[in-house]
């Protein structure tokens, strides 16, 4: 019944449904778009949020962290994470496959910061070299290969996983050697791997309080609070996008309102006849609401489908991965936009339907 009534003025119906389609599409796609942005930013930035980097404050004239500093940082870290002291340098790395410049880290406990793709990272790093994915690739290194760094020869004991995330200590283009490989008694930086973003913030505060009490001896770099700000920004952006999209759906609602008003006005006499032959107000109301809901369901369904297709298309035209597109929260945006579309249709169909159904039969018949 509802279907056939809508079929009567196809163009008008189609335009109204198109309005809903666009509205739902806008909400769903902008919602997903914002969500994908936030998710991929989180995926890229997630790692640094858990790290605290402590370096000597060169402005205050200190060039290195002493063993005492490292101990103080370890104490400040406590049980919220693990502090790793690093010496770093740049150096020429030579192998039978060629040679390249790379970052050289020297530390005793690389296992806290890095993950091996091949071979194993020992608890205490005493001999051998651990190489980053890029260097291994460039010099065709594998576990057991021999390399030469700054004149000393090492056997490769592990190759690291390629790291996608942005990180202050990026291992891709680095070689990690035992602590003794770079001489001296001081360290260039301490990287604290915290258990969580909140722990990182707490550790950073404690390090500042204990080491910088009298003078600014160290710079403490931690991104967890920045990350929070970024997340807040993205959720704000998302709400903003949804707001814009919501406006377009409200506009669609107004057009549904108009369509329903026109079509019930045109059919006043028919509605009068229905009432005259004994059909109850409530049933007339139901038929008219069904028409509005149908517009919403059809428009909303195709709008949501289109938004889904657009989201998948995003994967192909941008460096965004499938993993951030196919997540439950995006499905929720699709569903939410659809439901909202149907809801808007019902709301804007309600008044015209109510008005038509409650008209006295005599008045309706007079037209």
């Amino acid at each position: 019944m509802a279907t056939r009534n809508l079929g009567r003025n196809r163009v008008r119906t189609a335009l109204a449904a198109l309005g809903v389609l666009i509205g739902v599409f806008a909400i769903a796609s902008l919602g997903i778009f914002g969500n994908v942005l936030a998710l991929s930013a989180e995926a890229e930035l997630g790692g640094i949020g858990d790290q605290v980097i402590v370096t000597p404050n060169q402005d205050a004239g200190s060039n290195a962290l002493t063993v005492r500093d490292v101990d103080a940082i370890a104490r400040a870290t406590g049980s919220d994470g693990t502090a790793v002291a690093l010496r770093s340098d740049n150096g020429l790395i030579t192998a039978s496959g060629g040679q390249t410049f790379g970052q050289v880290y020297a530390t005793e406990t690389p296992g806290v910061l890095f993950t091996a793709a091949a071979g194993t990272i020992p608890d205490r790093h005493r001999q051998g070299a651990i190489v980053g994915a890029e260097i291994a690739d460039e010099l065709s290194l594998e576990v057991g290969s021999a390399i030469e760094v700054a004149g000393a020869r090492y056997r490769v004991i592990a190759v690291l996983e390629s790291e996608e995330m942005i990180s202050p200590v990026s291992p891709n283009n680095a070689v990690v050697l035992p602590e003794s490989a770079i001489g001296g008694r001081t360290y260039d930086q301490v990287v604290v791997q915290a258990d969580s973003g909140a722990a990182a913030t707490a550790i950073a505060d404690r390090v500042r309080a204990q080491l910088n009490a009298r003078e600014e001896r160290v710079s403490v770099f931690e991104l967890s609070s920045l990350l929070e700000t970024i997340n807040e920004f993205f959720s704000l952006l998302n709400r903003f996008l949804l707001g814009i999209a919501g406006i377009s759906l409200v506009v669609a609602g107004v057009s549904i309102f108009n369509v329903m008003l026109m079509s019930t006005n045109e059919r006043k006499q028919e509605i009068g006849v229905l009432r005259a032959v004994g059909i109850h107000k409530a049933d007339v109301l139901r038929v008219l609401l069904a028409e509005a809901a149908l517009l919403g369901v059809v428009g909303g369904f195709f709008g949501a489908i289109l938004a889904g297709v657009a989201a998948i298309g995003l994967v192909f035209v941008s460096p965004i991965g499938f993993d951030v597109v196919f997540v439950a929260s995006n499905g929720l945006y699709l569903l939410g936009a659809f439901v909202f579309g149907v809801f808007i249709c019902l709301i804007s169909g309600a008044y015209p339907a109510y008005k038509a159904a409650t008209l006295r039969p005599v008045d309706a018949l007079r037209g």
Binding site: M1, R4, N5, G7, R8, Q269, E270, G272, V273, L274, R275, A276, V277, G278, I279, H280, K281, D283, R360, P361, V362, L365
Partner: protein, 239 residues
């Protein structure tokens, strides 16, 4: 009044017989922009079961108004409407709608068929929201009774005026009403087609249904058992 019968006497008489529907001292006033129009000024009318009553009168005399009151589509300003002896004047919308559905069929001058539905579907419209009831068989039967057995699946725009009116008559009968009300049923039809419609009404009356038709058409009065003339909201002549 016509002198011989007092209104009271008419009412008593009507009660004594088998009365399908009756108006007792009914008035109807319309208020438009401060002006009060008295469309009906004290009407007494009783319609017997199986009677074919025609109502004539000049334009604006209150014929449609009276039919709306008889059809429970409108309420009188004063007086009583009695449907099969039951006072239905004060009923609320739900009960009125139910009473209309159970007892009254409507035939309109402009047919008022739903353009998207076929003939059978149009006939079943009054039963559309009845659960566990399929009136299709009865609809087909009614359509063949009015001579449209071969037109059941046509939509209104594929039917002639007379055929449309016959579909409308079939629709008015779907719920086996006691009363069929018709406002200018032949108004949009030529003489011959009008005659077939009136024959249809005659047959309905023979089945014990009262037919009340408002008309300008002289032909209708020839088929009717009784004709009343309404002038300025008063029944002027009973013929």
């Amino acid at each position: 009044m016509n002198g011989t019968d007092s209104p009271r006497a008419v009412v008593e008489l009507a009660r004594a017989k088998d009365t399908a529907i009756a108006l007792e001292s009914v008035t109807k006033q319309y208020e438009t922009g401060g002006v009060t129009v008295e469309a009906l000024a004290g009407v007494d009318l009783a319609v017997e079961t199986g009677e074919f009553l025609s109502i004539i009168g000049p334009s604006g005399s209150g014929k449609s108004t009276m039919l709306n009151l008889l059809g429970l589509l409108d309420v009188p300003t004063s007086g009583t409407v009695r449907l099969q002896g039951r006072d239905v004047t004060e009923l609320g919308d739900r009960e009125r709608t139910r009473a209309r559905k159970e007892s009254i069929g409507f035939v309109f001058q402009d047919f008022y068929l739903l353009p998207t539905l076929t003939a059978v579907e149009n006939v079943t419209v009054p039963t559309m929201f009845d659960r566990d009831r399929d009136a299709t068989n009865r609809a087909v039967e009614l359509l063949s009774r009015v001579g449209l057995a071969d037109r059941t699946d046509h939509t209104p725009n594929e039917l002639s005026g007379g055929q449309k009116q016959r579909v409308a008559i079939a629709r008015s009968l779907i719920n086996e009403p006691r009363i069929v009300l018709a406002d200018e049923p032949t108004g949009n039809l030529d003489q011959d087609t009008g005659a077939t419609i009136l024959e249809e009404f005659r047959r309905i009356c023979d089945d014990g249904v009262s037919v009340i038709a408002v008309t300008h058409d002289e032909l209708v009065t020839e088929y009717a058992d009784r004709t009343v003339e309404l002038i300025d909201g008063v029944i002027d002549r009973v013929g």
